[in-house]
Every structure is written in structure tokens, then in C-alpha cells.
């Protein structure tokens, strides 16, 4: 067999062996055998002396071509094998991605706080200051300063928690109005405030009564504050809290510390105004009380009612939460079942 035939055989045999090598080691053995220093190709070159001189060049050329071919195939076979090894390893690392993850506890904000925080930001956006006042309050601020003199029917001893002869747990957030007005320096500008906080009434706890609940008081006093300003403000609150498509109405009402006094209703979110159990068939739901600050209240705080006027409103944060989230038992807010609390994680606020 001449060298050309041998080269031809070697080509076929070599390519087959490269293809068949299954590991990096066996591939390396093939490499040594084919293109190593003592490999087949080298051996062929060693037999060059037996070739006719005019053919030597051609043989040399063929050998080099074959070496290049082998090297190229060896390299790509090696890449293949490495790739396969990685694939095999990754396959072995397979996990069931449908199994559940390890979870931490996720916190939640109390539903009343969601309402409170939201309203605070809403009013701060309209340049109201957030002000706090004491919960253990004097009769003076809780009643007298609010135009509720001694013997006023609304000052029912039975309905208020007294802690001594003239101190009580505030029955409303309104005393903060009086305290703030008293301190406010009107030379430095008008007054715009809200005051959220706990209030207390001597009611036995049941689905609709709580001896403790939360209110938010609002007050604006300046030289040109009117009922139309109150109306515009309350409409914004109602739409912000209960939806842009809610209708509102103001009704005459009575509070000792405002005159005129109004209550605001919004169209029932359940029935849209047709009448249902939630709105007691009226189509309307009462959401807050408000009015023009009574001149006696301004005077008591040292403000001249012939120069200044103001409006005030008070809303129940519990009530807002009850209406907004469809809660049917006020005690749920204070017994704090975690399953009740945690559903409010989904509320954007």
C-alpha cells in the first residue's frame, strides 16, 4: 500500500476515532495517536525517504492538510465534550421550581392607620398642619371652650369617662381646636390644622359601639373663611376617600361649637343611591359633621369673631374604614385577629 492509500485510510480512521471519543481522556489518546510526536502522521513523514522525490512534496502537503483537519476536529470535539460535561452537571442540579419558597413574615398596617395616614397626606398637601393634643383632657377644653357650658344637655356625665372632678378622657378631638386656636399667632398667618387621635365614650362595646375609637378634627381660621370654603373642602375629602363619582349633600345639623352646622352625606356606594340596607333605604350615607366655628368658641380662644371666621369638621376614622372596607363589627379593629389585619396589606396607601 502506498503512502497515499495510507493517508486516505488514516483520514477515515482518524475522523471516526475523534468522533467516537467519549471523554476528554480518550479524546486526548486519539490526539496523541494521530498528531502526537510519535503519532501516525509523524510516522508517515518518517517514511518519506521511501517516496519518489517528485511525490514527496505532494505527500508533505497531504500530511499537513490532514494534521490541520485532525487538529480542527479534535478542538471542536473537545469543546463539545466540555459542553456536554457542563450540561450533565447542570442536569444533575435540577430542582422543582414549583415547590414553594421560604417566606418571612410580611408586616401590615392597621386599617384605621391606612385611612389616617392617607387623610394626613391629603390634608398636608393642602397645607394643613398635623397637631396632637392630650387624651386626658380638662372639662375646660373638652366642653367649656367649645360652647358647652355646665348643665348643657350634651354634657352628659353618663356618656363621658371622668378621671376626677374636672378631668376626663376626651370625648372628641375638638378640644385640640381650642388649644391650637389659643396658641396660634395670627400675625404669622392663618390657621389650618388637622388633629387625629383616640377618643372615648362611655358606651358598652358591641358591633356598632366602641368605648374607644379614632377621630380626625379639622380647623381653618382666617379673615375670610366661609361656608362655601367648607363645602368645597368637604367635597374634596369625600371624593378623595370614597371615589370621584360619589355625589355629596350637606344637611343642616347641630353641634354646640359650630353655627351653622352641617352633616355631609355621600351617595351610597353599595346601591349608588337607589336605596339598600346599608344606607337604610335613603340612598345616602352620613360621613362627617362640620360647620362654621361658633363665635363663642372663637371668643373663648381669644379670637375676635368680628374679624376672623373659620370652619371645623370632625370625622370618624373608624367609620371611614368601616364604610370603605365594608367592615361590619367595630370590635374587629381592637381585637386584632391577624387574619383580619393582614388582609389590608393589599391596600395601596
Amino acid at each position: 500500500m502506498d503512502l497515499f492509500d495510507r493517508l486516505k485510510d488514516l483520514r477515515e480512521q482518524g475522523l471516526a476515532e475523534i468522533k467516537e471519543a467519549e471523554s476528554e481522556k480518550s479524546l486526548n489518546d486519539v490526539r496523541v495517536k494521530l498528531v502526537g510526536k510519535k503519532g501516525e502522521l509523524t510516522q508517515i513523514l518518517h517514511q518519506m525517504k521511501d517516496v519518489a522525490p517528485e511525490k514527496r512534496r505532494e505527500v508533505g502537503q497531504k500530511v499537513n492538510e490532514l494534521r490541520d483537519l485532525f487538529n480542527e476536529k479534535l478542538a471542536s470535539a473537545k469543546d463539545n465534550l466540555i459542553e456536554k460535561a457542563i450540561e450533565a452537571r447542570l442536569e444533575a442540579e435540577k430542582i422543582d421550581v414549583t415547590l414553594p419558597g421560604r417566606r418571612k413574615h410580611v408586616g401590615s398596617k392597621h386599617p384605621i392607620r391606612i385611612i389616617q395616614d392617607d387623610l394626613e397626606r391629603f390634608f398636608i398637601g393642602m397645607s394643613y398642619q398635623v397637631v396632637q393634643g392630650p387624651e386626658i383632657e380638662s372639662e375646660h377644653y373638652n366642653f367649656e371652650m367649645l360652647n358647652l357650658p355646665k348643665d348643657h344637655p350634651a354634657r352628659d356625665m353618663q356618656a363621658t369617662f371622668y378621671v376626677d372632678a374636672d378631668h376626663l378622657l376626651r370625648s372628641q378631638t375638638s378640644p385640640v381646636q381650642a388649644r391650637t386656636m389659643e396658641k396660634h399667632d395670627f400675625d404669622k398667618g392663618d390657621l389650618k390644622m388637622i388633629s387625629p387621635g383616640k377618643v372615648y365614650r362611655r358606651d358598652d362595646d358591641d358591633a356598632t359601639h366602641s368605648h374607644q375609637f379614632m377621630q380626625m378634627e379639622g380647623l381653618v381660621v382666617g379673615k375670610n373663611i366661609s361656608l362655601s370654603d367648607l363645602k368645597g373642602t368637604l367635597e374634596l375629602v369625600a371624593k378623595h376617600e370614597f371615589g370621584q363619582d360619589r355625589e355629596t349633600r350637606l344637611r343642616p345639623s347641630y353641634f354646640p361649637f359650630t353655627e351653622p352646622s352641617v352633616e355631609m352625606d355621600v351617595s351610597c356606594f353599595e346601591c349608588g343611591g337607589k336605596g339598600c340596607a346599608i344606607c337604610k333605604n335613603t340612598g345616602w350615607i352620613e360621613v362627617l359633621g362640620a360647620g362654621i366655628v361658633h363665635p363663642n368658641v372663637l371668643s373663648a380662644a381669644g379670637i375676635d369673631p368680628s374679624v376672623y371666621s373659620g370652619f371645623a369638621f370632625g370625622l370618624g376614622l373608624d367609620r371611614f374604614a368601616i364604610l370603605k372596607y365594608g367592615i361590619d363589627d367595630i370590635r374587629d379593629f381592637y381585637s386584632d385577629d391577624v387574619r383580619f389585619l393582614q388582609q389590608f396589606r393589599q391596600e395601596e396607601d
Partner: protein, 803 residues
């Protein structure tokens, strides 16, 4: 106040005034209408029937009747009512009739006897038990009206064709608690002047005032008028009057009682009728404050001990009535009564209110007196009542009346301006418009330029000042017609006080750590209020607590969190991470104090349990780590934890938390004595911390001043020591910090070991010290010198062996 639409027709032309639209108008402009009821709604085929024959069905309580219902033939109807009899005009529900509650009347058989309809009582037509006249309470209703014919619908006769508007009256609008008051209000809204007529009474008996005296103190009874009538024949009132009473929610009793109630409904002036016989002996009535020890039995048979602040009516000797509240049983009008003394009076509102409350005996009359009544109606009420008794009870009105007191009330006169009216309302009303609005209310107005003066009639005793006038103008103009504007207050900056921002930041951090926010009650028991605190202060207790669990204002938040833990445990929720931010309350030096606190409670696993079994159970160090994260996030440094015994807490697993030697709170495990003995807690380990924010907030970092990340590498050295088991980590750490020089940036505990491999009473601690020089690379020599110093100090001060 239940206001009858049909009755309003006496005062106003109601043609074209839809009752439901009127209710909405009233709600928006005057008085909230809680409901509008049309009693005949949903009912049908109820007619007048005349009973021709009535015979008892043997062996039953039933009667077989034949009834003429205006058809060709009489119907046979079986009736079980005890008072059924031939000759009566009754209510018949024909077959196919609809009754309240979805009941439908069908032809049928009772005890095998055919019955073609039902003879009804008022309750079966939806009347409340509280308005059915006593005589017909347990049987069928019987008409006594000759104008009614068999087959007539009963709705008009019984007033069921009326619309009843429920006026939900605020305390200031008690003027609408009468038909006349309601008519003025409705008139203002439909722009009509109501026909409120004066009465002319021609007395027809002899003068009685010669030998009768009445005495009343003006201070407690500013008006006290009496009339006497004789020859009264007690009977049922005419149906039209009974209808007006029951549609107003008042039960008809007899012609005398009904007359006083009717006049009260009409005028708002409570009336009382005494049996005159009681005064035959003394010929005297005296109105005075009660005396200590005096007793009175009221009409409702309640025996009361009178209080010296009660106003009583007496015959000069004994009490015969609690003024403005209820008459006495001894002067009650009965079937035998022939002569009555009628009383119309004004009593002091506060005394009347307190008496009604004191004796737990509020009545329609006391409710009217306490909210005030129309002083101008006393005479009219008395005279109308006399007229009605003459018409309905055949009474003779004796000549003369006695006015034991007769204080006049001057009308309130208010002067203000159109510009101020517009300024307060935010309106742009002309003087003409204002005058027109006040005219609708029938208020006399005098105008002088921009100024106007209103003379307020006494029937509107709620109006005193200009603001009251603005309210009248505003509501009649219509709140719907007022513009919506926004306060022009000039430039103001809104926002929170600095501390409020910090508190809200803390709440957010805890929520981010996975805690659920709770809100708990401030009132708790005195015991719990003063547990879980380092030092209990004087408790704040409420008078008349609702129950023994809510007597005292809390001095800690942990007690509320434990309530919440117990509530959740009872509902099988045992993985809990909760917090509360709120106030605690105490008393010191006679002053009340409120402090802002923050507390958290942890029970169970740190995360959700998982199938990989990588659960971490909450323990002291987990909770402390969470708290340390909080301190890190708010920039509070150098926090010290000192082992401390605190009431209610685990004695050896609790620490007081200090910053700069100031106590700011506690952390630890709730005492097992509490969790083991209280079955709510099932022996679970509950860990808590509570912080006094009044102390903590001032320590919080104020803003961030940025510096670049370190450019040079930090160097770490580990240090392992053997010390006596009593030596605390805090001692070792402070020794390291004091001696490691200025490049030490952190000390980390990496191991704590105590056990078999060590000598008894010893423990091994390992620390990782990190050094960093922000200006250049630290050399080995510098670090080695620092650690050598530390080792020497530990050996010397804590007798540590370096390992």
C-alpha cells in the same frame, strides 16, 4: 316626631307637593327625614264590613258570622276574636287581600265551616301594639262612624292613606316637634305662609276662680295656667282624632287623655288633665320644689322618692304630679271622672330634664320641656284643649282661668349686615333676597342700608345671634346652591411636627420587619396597667368604669399586645409578630402625663414554616436582633442592655435598655409564671420589647451627612478567650473597645461555648475584630500592637486566658 302629611293640609295647600320630594327637601334644608311611610303600601282588598249575624260555634272559641261587604250577598266569615258581635262595623280582608308580612288571604274552611275572608284587628294591618287603643288590643277593630258604608276601603278611614314623615330632630330644632312648628318649616320650603289660627273660646259655665288658689314660683314655672271643666263624659275620641294620634305614634286612650295629647302634638305645649275631685278639699294647687322625704306614685304606678331638685305639683299638701314629666296616680282621670282641671305650663328645662333622668322616667312631655317650648302658645293650647273637651266629652268650660305665674318672654332682636351674611356663607345674596328668605320663615325684618334687623318670633327659641340668622338664610337659600370654593389663607406650609415624622418612620420600619400593627384599648385593669413597667406610677382611673377589665389607663403597651396574643391564640393563630404605637398614661405630682410608646411582641417562628425544615424559632436573641436593626436604622448608637428584674417579665431573660445611662425601655420574655398559668397562652414563650419614644425620639439621627466608601482594605483578627462564666459579653466588648485603639471599627461575637470540653465555671468566647484606617493601608504592625493591647487588658481586667 312623626309628622302626618294629611294633617299638614290643615295649614298648607299641599296640592302638587310630593311627600317623598318634600322629605328630601326637608332633609337638605331643615330637618333630616329618617323615613317616609305610606301605611297602605303593599296592602289591598281591605274593606268595611257590617256584621249581620254572629253565632258561636259549639265547642270552639270561634264565631260564624255573616258580613255585608257591599256585595249582592253577605259573606260567611269565621272569626275568633273575643269582641266580635252582630251589628258591628269592622275591617274585612277579602279573599285575595294582601296583609303586611306577605300574608295573602284565601277562601278556606275553619273546623269544616266555610270562611270567605277575615275580620281584622289593627295589628293585622301593620299597626304597632304601642298605638292600638287598649279596648281593641286583643280583638278586632270596631268602627263607630255612621258615614262608613259596607264595601268602603278602610285606608282613608284609618289614616293609612297618609304619608308619615319621621322628623329626626336635632336638639336645636325642637320647634319642629309640633304640627304647627312643622307647618312653619314646610311652609318656608314650599314658600307658603301656614294658616295658624288663633282660637276663640266662649266659656259656658260659672266662674270657678273665686274659691280656688294656685301658687307657682316663676323661677321654676315661669308660666302656669289652669282651666276647669265640668260634666265630662269619658268616652272614645272621634276616629279622625284617634287617627291623628296613632299616625303620630301615640296610643288613643279616652277623650280626655287624647285631647291633651292632641293639643301637645298640635302646639308643642304639653298639657295635663287632673281629676278635679282630688282638689275638692284643699281648693288649691301649688307648684314648688319637692321636700326631702316626699314620695309620689306616678301614673305608670312607679313609686318615686322625690328629690329637692324635682318640681312637683301639689294640692297644697301632697304631691299630685312630677311637673313636666308625669302626673300622679292620685289625680288620674278615670272612667268615673266628671270634672277636670287642665294645666298648660312652662317648666324650667334643666330641672325637668334632670328629674326625668333621675327617676328614669322620660316622657314625650319631659322631652319637649327639656328642649324648650313656645312660650307664646300657653293660652292657645289651654283654650283649644277646652274646646275639644267640650266637643268630644260634652264638657262645660267654667268661666275664668287661673294664671299662677305668667312671665313674658321678650322677642330676640338681631341686627347684622348683608355683607357679613354673605361673608360667612360665601354667597352673593342681595338684601332683597335675604329679606325674601327671612320672609319665608315669617320673621319680621327691618332694613337700613346694608344693615338688617330680625325680630325672632318666640316659636323659634333656638335663635339668639347673627350666626343663627346666617344658618337660616343659608339653609333656606339651599346648601346645594352655595358654591364650592377653597379657603384663601395665603401661603401656609403644611406638615407634621418633627416628632410625628419620626414616629411614623418607626411604624414603617416595624411593618417592614414583618410585624402587623395593632391598636389596643387604653383602658385595662389596674393590675395590668402597672405590670411590665420598671417603675409603676400613680394610676389614672376612670369613675364608673364599664367593667372591671377597663378601669385604669395603661402605663404600658405590652398588656394590650398580650390581649391580642390571647385573642389570636384562642383562634388558633399562634405565629404572631405584632406591634403597637400609642400612648401610656400616668399621674405624677398631681398632673396627668401621656407618653408615646412603641412595643412589639413575638411568638412562634421567625419566618413561615417551610418544607426544607429551615425553621427559626423566635427567642430573646432573635427579637434583640430585630430591635438592634431598628436602632441601626434610626442611628441610635451605644445602646446598653442591662439584665433587670421587671414585674411580669422573665426574671433572668429580661434587660433594661439604656442610652447614655437613661432608661428607654425593656426587652425580654414574658414571665413563664404568667404564660404557664394563663391557659390562653398555653405555655408558649412570648418575647416583647417596649420603648419610651419620648426618650428615644430625641436620640434619633437627624439627617445623613454622606462620606465616601472606604478606599483602603479593612483588616480582621479573630480572638478567642477563656473567662469565668459570670463575665458578660458587654464586659468583654467594652474592654476590647477601650484598648483596641482608634482603628477598631467593629467587634463581632463569633462563638460562645460552655460545656464538657472546658473547666467547670468557665466559658470560651470568640470575637472578630475589624480594623480600618480611612487614610491609608493599615500595616500588620499597627494591628498586632492593637490586639496585643487588647489581650493584655483582657488578661488583666477579666482574668481571661487567651487561646
Amino acid at each position: 316626631m312623626l309628622v302626618s302629611y294629611n294633617w299638614l293640609k290643615d295649614f298648607l295647600n299641599m296640592d302638587g307637593v310630593d311627600p317623598y320630594a318634600l322629605a328630601e327637601k326637608l332633609t337638605r334644608s331643615g330637618v333630616e327625614i329618617a323615613s317616609t311611610v305610606h301605611p297602605e303600601d303593599g296592602l289591598s282588598k281591605l274593606v268595611v264590613g257590617h256584621i249581620l249575624t254572629c253565632e258561636k260555634i259549639e265547642g270552639t272559641h270561634l264565631n260564624k258570622t255573616t258580613v255585608d261587604v257591599g256585595e249582592d250577598e253577605a259573606r260567611q266569615i269565621v272569626c275568633g276574636a273575643p269582641n266580635v258581635a252582630a251589628g258591628q262595623d269592622v275591617i274585612v280582608a277579602l279573599p285575595g287581600a294582601h296583609l303586611p308580612g306577605g300574608i295573602k288571604i284565601k277562601k278556606g274552611k275553619l273546623r269544616g265551616i266555610e270562611s270567605n275572608g277575615m275580620i281584622c284587628g289593627l295589628q293585622e294591618l301593620g299597626f304597632s301594639d304601642s298605638v292600638v287603643p287598649p279596648k281593641y288590643a286583643d280583638g278586632i277593630w270596631v268602627f263607630h262612624d255612621p258615614d262608613l258604608k259596607p264595601g268602603d276601603s278602610v285606608f282613608a278611614a284609618l289614616g293609612m292613606d297618609d304619608y308619615v314623615l319621621d322628623f329626626d330632630i336635632t336638639p336645636n330644632r325642637a320647634d319642629t316637634s309640633s304640627m304647627e312648628g312643622a307647618a312653619y318649616e314646610v311652609g318656608a320650603l314650599i314658600d307658603q305662609k301656614p294658616k295658624i289660627e288663633d282660637v276663640v273660646l266662649k266659656e259656658d259655665g260659672a266662674d270657678w276662680t273665686g274659691d280656688f288658689t294656685a301658687v307657682a314660683d316663676e323661677k321654676i314655672a315661669p308660666k302656669y295656667y289652669l282651666r276647669k271643666l265640668t260634666g265630662v263624659k269619658i268616652a272614645e275620641s272621634p276616629l279622625w282624632l284617634q287617627v291623628r294620634l296613632w299616625n303620630a305614634g301615640i296610643r288613643p286612650i279616652n277623650n280626655v287623655v287624647d285631647a291633651t295629647n292632641y293639643v301637645m302634638l298640635l302646639t308643642g305645649q304639653p298639657m295635663h288633665a287632673y281629676d278635679a275631685k282630688l282638689f275638692d278639699k284643699t281648693k288649691k294647687i301649688e307648684v314648688r320644689l319637692a321636700k326631702e322625704g316626699e314620695k309620689l306614685q306616678l301614673l305608670n304606678e312607679k313609686e318615686i322618692d322625690l328629690d329637692p331638685q324635682d318640681i312637683v305639683i301639689t294640692d297644697g299638701e301632697q304631691a299630685v304630679g312630677l311637673a313636666g314629666v308625669m302626673g300622679g296616680l292620685n289625680s288620674e282621670v278615670t272612667e268615673e271622672t266628671t270634672d277636670v282641671i287642665l294645666e298648660a305650663a312652662v317648666f324650667d328645662p334643666a330641672l325637668t330634664r334632670k328629674a326625668a333622668l333621675r327617676h328614669d322616667n322620660r316622657t314625650d312631655a319631659s322631652a319637649l320641656f327639656e328642649k324648650g317650648i313656645n312660650w307664646d302658645n300657653t293660652q292657645k293650647a289651654l283654650d283649644i284643649c277646652a274646646l275639644i273637651l267640650r266637643a268630644n266629652a260634652g264638657a262645660t268650660v267654667l268661666a275664668g282661668e287661673i294664671k299662677a305665674s305668667d312671665l313674658d318672654k321678650e322677642a330676640v332682636v338681631i341686627t347684622t349686615t348683608a355683607s357679613r351674611t354673605n361673608k360667612i356663607l360665601g354667597t352673593d345674596l342681595s338684601m332683597d333676597e335675604i329679606v325674601k328668605i327671612l320672609g319665608k320663615l315669617n320673621f319680621p325684618v327691618a332694613v337700613n342700608g346694608d344693615e338688617y334687623t330680625v325680630t325672632v318670633p318666640n316659636r323659634r327659641w333656638d335663635i339668639f345671634i347673627d350666626s343663627d340668622i346666617f344658618e337660616e338664610v343659608g339653609r333656606i337659600y339651599g346648601y346645594d346652591n352655595i358654591k364650592s370654593t377653597h379657603p384663601a389663607t395665603g401661603e401656609l406650609i403644611g406638615g407634621y411636627a418633627a416628632d410625628e415624622v419620626k414616629v411614623r418612620h418607626l411604624r414603617q420600619l416595624l411593618e417592614g420587619q414583618g410585624l402587623s400593627e395593632t391598636i389596643n384599648y387604653s383602658l385595662t385593669s389596674e393590675e395590668l396597667a402597672t405590670t411590665f413597667v420598671k417603675k409603676a406610677l400613680a394610676p389614672v382611673k376612670v369613675n364608673w368604669p364599664l367593667n372591671s377589665a377597663r378601669t385604669t389607663m395603661r402605663q404600658n403597651l405590652i398588656c394590650g399586645l398580650l390581649d391580642t396574643v390571647a385573642y389570636n391564640f384562642a383562634r388558633k393563630q399562634t405565629e404572631l409578630q405584632l406591634f403597637e404605637n400609642g400612648r401610656v398614661y400616668d399621674m405624677e405630682g398631681g398632673d396627668y402625663h401621656e407618653h408615646e410608646h412603641l412595643a412589639a411582641a413575638y411568638v412562634g417562628l421567625a419566618g413561615e414554616s417551610n418544607w426544607q425544615h429551615k425553621d427559626e424559632v423566635v427567642d430573646f436573641y432573635y427579637v434583640k436582633g430585630q430591635l438592634e436593626d431598628v436602632f441601626e436604622m434610626i442611628g441610635v448608637k451605644d445602646v446598653e442592655y442591662r439584665a433587670e428584674a421587671i414585674k411580669g417579665m422573665h426574671p433572668t431573660r429580661t434587660a433594661g435598655i439604656y442610652v447614655n445611662d437613661e432608661y428607654i425601655g425593656l426587652i425580654g420574655q414574658i414571665s413563664p409564671v404568667l404564660t404557664m398559668t394563663d391557659k390562653n397562652f398555653a405555655g408558649k414563650e412570648i418575647y416583647v420589647y417596649e420603648l419610651n419614644l419620648d426618650a428615644l425620639l430625641p436620640l434619633m439621627a437627624k439627617g445623613v451627612k454622606s462620606k465616601p466608601a472606604p478606599k483602603y482594605p479593612a483588616v480582621q483578627r479573630d480572638l478567642s478567650i477563656l473567662v469565668d462564666e459570670d463575665v458578660t459579653n458587654a464586659q468583654v466588648e467594652s474592654c476590647i473597645k477601650e484598648n483596641a485603639g482608634k482603628y477598631l471599627v467593629s467587634v463581632e461575637v463569633i462563638d460562645v461555648y460552655q460545656g464538657a470540653h472546658l473547666a467547670a465555671g468557665k466559658k470560651s468566647l470568640a470575637y472578630r475584630l475589624t480594623f480600618l484606617n480611612e487614610a491609608e493601608t493599615l500595616t500588620d504592625a499597627v494591628v498586632t500592637k492593637a490586639t496585643d493591647n487588647v489581650q493584655a487588658a483582657l488578661e488583666e481586667k477579666l482574668e481571661a486566658n487567651i487561646r
